[in-house]
């Protein structure tokens, strides 16, 4: 194409009257059909065509050996392999070691599913046995997916420059480049024919560069016939060349994709630890008070033991009212109080599931429900464990009151050992109210007439006062 571009203006500039009048012989020796200019152009055209044919032959003949040819589409193996080059790879024999350090063609997962062929270099053994890390020479990072031997379709053996360019232009829609190449090829064929050496003629200027080849003005009939004979194979050659190169479109396309990565590594999530809210050594005591335990009605029954520590006053109870022991500031009582305080501390650091309302009623799911102000349980409060016997319920406020007529009911596997009513002040259970769970009060606990506690009542700083109630201590199995 470039040759034609310079060819066209040349005669108009040089072929002026001035040049003609100076020396027609010199002009013809340069610009004539048998002149130097045409000679150089013809030789260049011929070399171009033969070079293309030869490269094409290099790119296709090894296919007969069972080698694999693919047109590289991208430049991540630059500078050695450019887009448009054809890579010929030979199959990797079963017994051959994986060619570490060499360029291989392999199948890699393609974006959007499927696989595509990649030509990259094996740079290192992979993290696990039998895998290999690959990388494009021009890439700053390794390929993300390690390959195995089975992925390798061949080892790079021959690299044929440029041959794949026309097919790549076609397949990627760069028609401008493709048409330019097409024109250049046919122009080269035309030039080669036209400037092919012939017998000397004496026909003068008619063989000027501007003359049309085969226009009928030149030479005798035999010469023209001879030239036609030469022309046909040359045209055929060019046509075959174009066809073969275009046919390279059907060659496999291999990618040498550029790739780069950035990552955010070691994103760590560590679960905290929390106390499992153990009753500890307090578990054998149904009633635990700091200052004293009082009872003012005669029909109180307590299943289990009771303890006072550091106080030692127990009044209004006779021996038959308590099935267990009555520990007044004994070691057992002091240990029980220590563990009850630990329990309170463990509860206080639990994460809050949600805010508790001032008036609690209806259904409550497992969790830690807190309120800074007082809490009153009204009506029927159902603690629903949802089938999880390990579910924990914490209801915490500045005081906890069980209103007259209210009740606490356990449902779906809720355990009275896992229910905690926590007060930073007092806990009051009004007359006749059935309660399940552990009452844990910083200050006094008051159990009114006929209250029924299935669980425990622990006052950490104050007293526990009762009026004819019943306390049942649940088993501590869970």
């Amino acid at each position: 194409v470039t040759a034609i571009g310079t060819l066209t203006p040349a005669p108009s500039a040089l072929g002026s009257g001035r040049a003609r009048s100076e020396n027609p012989d010199v002009r013809r020796s340069i610009l004539g059909r048998d002149g130097w200019f045409a000679f150089v152009l013809g030789t260049v055209a011929q070399t171009f065509l033969v070079l293309m044919v030869a490269l094409l032959a290099f790119a296709t003949l090894p296919l007969a050996l069972g080698w694999d040819a693919s047109v590289v589409q991208t430049g991540s193996m630059r500078p050695h392999i450019q887009a448009g080059d054809v890579v010929l790879s030979s199959p990797l024999p079963e017994t051959a070691p994986v060619p570490l350090g060499s360029v291989v063609q392999f199948e890699a997962p393609a974006a959007g599913g499927g696989e595509h062929l990649v030509v990259h270099r094996i740079v290192a053994p992979g993290a696990t046995d039998g895998t290999w890390v690959t990388r494009g020479d021009a890439n700053a990072t390794d390929d993300s997916t390690a390959i195995t031997r089975d992925d390798i379709t061949g080892q790079g053996r021959l690299l044929v420059r440029w041959v794949g360019l026309p097919s790549m232009w076609l397949s990627t829609g760069q028609f401008g480049s493709f048409v330019a190449w097409l024109l250049a090829t046919f122009a080269a064929a035309w030039l080669m024919i036209w400037t092919w050496p012939r017998r000397a003629t004496n026909t003068g200027d008619e063989d000027d560069l501007l003359a049309t080849p085969g226009a009928g003005r030149t030479g005798d009939g035999s010469q023209r016939a001879r030239r036609t004979m030469r022309r046909t194979p040359a045209i055929l050659l060019a046509a075959t060349l174009v066809a073969a190169t275009v046919a390279a479109v059907s060659l496999e396309h291999s990618s040498a994709a550029f790739t780069a990565r950035t990552s955010s590594v070691n994103n760590a999530f560590q679960v905290g630890s929390w106390s499992n809210l153990s009753l500890g050594r307090a578990s054998t005591y149904s009633i635990l008070a700091a200052t004293r335990i009082t009872n003012s009605e005669s029909h109180t029954t307590i299943l289990g033991s009771i303890a006072v520590a550091p106080g030692s006053t127990v009044s209004g109870l006779n021996g038959a009212d308590v099935t267990g022991s009555v520990d007044k500031n004994t070691l057992g009582a002091r240990n029980a109080r220590t563990d009850a305080i630990a329990l309170r501390d463990a509860i206080s650091v639990r994460s809050t599931s949600g805010a508790a309302p001032a008036a609690v009623t209806g259904r409550l799911t497992p969790g830690t429900w807190r309120r800074t102000g007082p809490i009153e349980v009204q009506g029927r409060l159902t603690l629903d464990a949802g089938g999880d016997p390990s579910a924990i319920f914490v209801l915490s406020g500045s005081s906890v009151t069980f209103a007259p007529g209210s009740s606490v009911v356990l449902a779906n596997g809720a355990s009275p050992n896992k229910v905690f009513f926590v007060s930073s002040g007092e806990v009051v259970v009004n007359s006749g109210v059935p309660v399940h769970g552990v009452l844990l009060a910083q200050s006094n606990i008051r159990l009114e007439r006929d209250a029924m506690l299935t669980g425990r009542a622990y006052s950490l700083q104050g007293e526990v006062s009762m009026k004819g109630i019943s306390v049942v201590q649940p088993t501590t199995a869970n």
Partner: protein
Amino acid sequence: MSAPSRNFRRVAALAAAPIAILAAGALVWQSSSAAFTASTRNAGNEWSTGQVDLTDDDKGMAGFDVTNLVPGQTGERCLVVRSGSSVPGEVRAYTQNLTATDPVLADRIKFRVEKGTGGTFASCTGFVADPGALPAASLTYLSTANMNYATGGGSWITAGTPGETRTYRGSWTFDTTGMTQQQIDSLQGSTVSVDLVWELQSKDVATS
């Protein structure tokens, strides 16, 4: 000055073909040996000229380093990914290297990645998500469903203009729904760790 003689022209015409064939052979031999017999990558370091690169604004810090995790806890982090690529391509996000001291925890960290604009590593303020993000999924699931470039998500088509950015927001929940307290308790102290990777691959089209 006389025109080239016919004999000279014939010799040149006949010699041109073998010379061209020899040249083709030499070219193939030279380029093949350069590409395929050297056993290490070239020292040219052409990549350093920045044909492609991908960076983020985390300055090497982990996006998530959460300790004392409690049930129901949530969090988020934004990461600005910048492409320095001069060729068009596609960025995809995926997970790698999932390790967990208790596999149950990996099931229980629900993670969601959204692509969008705005926000920084320091704060997600101003982040606007593109529509179409997938819902949250467990780390266990992500580690098998989004494990490499081919299966990656959060696709971002880059135009090939160096300096393009997108923000990715990762949000997580420690979801203990449906677990018993005993199962939750057994997760205490356990740790899960995962790498998030953004990978850019150039499109398979010629660029020159």
